[in-house]
Symmetry: C2
Subunit: 209 residues, 2 copies
């Protein structure tokens, strides 16, 4: 139940088509909440069914053989957005595939463990870069989405709108850095274990008792 509200928030920035929305999504929320286009379309129809958004069919192109569908927020949709923000959600349990695997690296060789931590580091380095780039865009108020958003909002709220988003992405950067540090410590650990154990080292799982 987060995709739902994220879409409401995107639509709040002004009417858009599903396709456009999906694109905006890809260059904003998706850094924090990943979703496929197919899911976005599905969710949009559900939102309309539930009366939180309404749509209008528009012609498309000069020949007008094609159409597109523009969505706008309804009053219940706006209310839902406010309700959701004020609601205290109990976070769902932690679930991190990489960390689970890291607790069982003894079933692999030192090379496997090294590859694991390197891949982890690489992944979070690229995430960090994307987050930092996005922060720059936000601070410059340069993204089309943010512009539309600010146009429709009172001027004295602009700072807050930008500041909350920047703060979120700062948090994501801090996270990415923590992951990079963790991966580096992991590499150090593998180096130590490898040295101490000689070449033999790691372990084979036993399949009977």
């Amino acid at each position: 139940m987060t995709l739902r509200q994220a879409l409401l928030a995107l639509i709040e920035a002004g009417p858009t088509t599903g396709y456009d929305l999906a694109k905006q999504f890809d260059r904003s929320v998706s850094y924090i909440w990943h979703a496929q286009h197919s899911q976005i379309y599905t969710e949009l129809r559900r939102l309309e069914r539930d009366g939180l958004i309404a749509s209008e069919v528009l012609p498309r192109g000069s020949k007008e053989l094609a159409t597109k569908r523009a969505y706008r927020l309804t009053e219940p949709g706006a209310a839902e957005l406010v309700r959701w923000v004020a609601e205290t959600e109990t976070p769902d349990g932690v679930r991190d595939p990489a960390y689970v695997k890291s607790t069982y690296l003894e079933y692999g060789s030192a090379a496997v463990a090294r590859a694991f931590f390197r891949a982890h580091r690489r992944y979070y380095e690229s995430l960090r870069d994307r987050y930092e780039a996005h922060i720059d865009e936000l601070q410059a108020r340069a993204t089309p989405l943010l512009r539309r958003r600010l146009e429709r909002a009172p001027a004295d709220s602009h700072d807050a709108i930008v500041a909350f988003k920047v703060h979120a992405y700062h948090g994501m950067v801090a996270r990415a850095r923590a992951e990079i540090a963790w991966a580096n410590e992991g590499l150090d650990l593998v180096a130590t274990l490898d040295r101490d154990a000689g070449r033999g080292s790691m372990l084979t799982p036993r399949y009977s008792d």
Copy 2:
């Protein structure tokens, strides 16, 4: 596909019943990968269906009217564990409900934002404490699961087994600390915005264009 391998790894520590497994799970892996008992039972049957584990029905209690079912790892199961550890997984997209909401806090009052960050801090403080307690248990090699695990593994692998797990939980502690810091910065931000904007501040979403 992580619950699957986590269960294999638990079973590798020696034959156990589903119920026991679920309990072990709750005091170990579940700190990193949350799962319900009902899901664990379902997954165990799937694992057996796929030949990765095998089970044996045992009597239970003195009257022996009841039974229980003990699972053990099969050879394909052990192979799957090794395969999984060596496999490079592409991390699934980020998906964090709290961070998404934090980018839209302007739709709530300053009080709402404050409550949000306080709840966030509280949650991660308690996580941090649990992780730290678990590290102590691991380092003392005190948990029943770890003991069974070490009993079955060659002595020269014990350090690695413990070290990888401790490293994982250190990472989780670092994460929790980062979240706490982020929440505190969030509270500072709210204080600043609230002061600057006077009492009026925050925003109402618009529901038409």
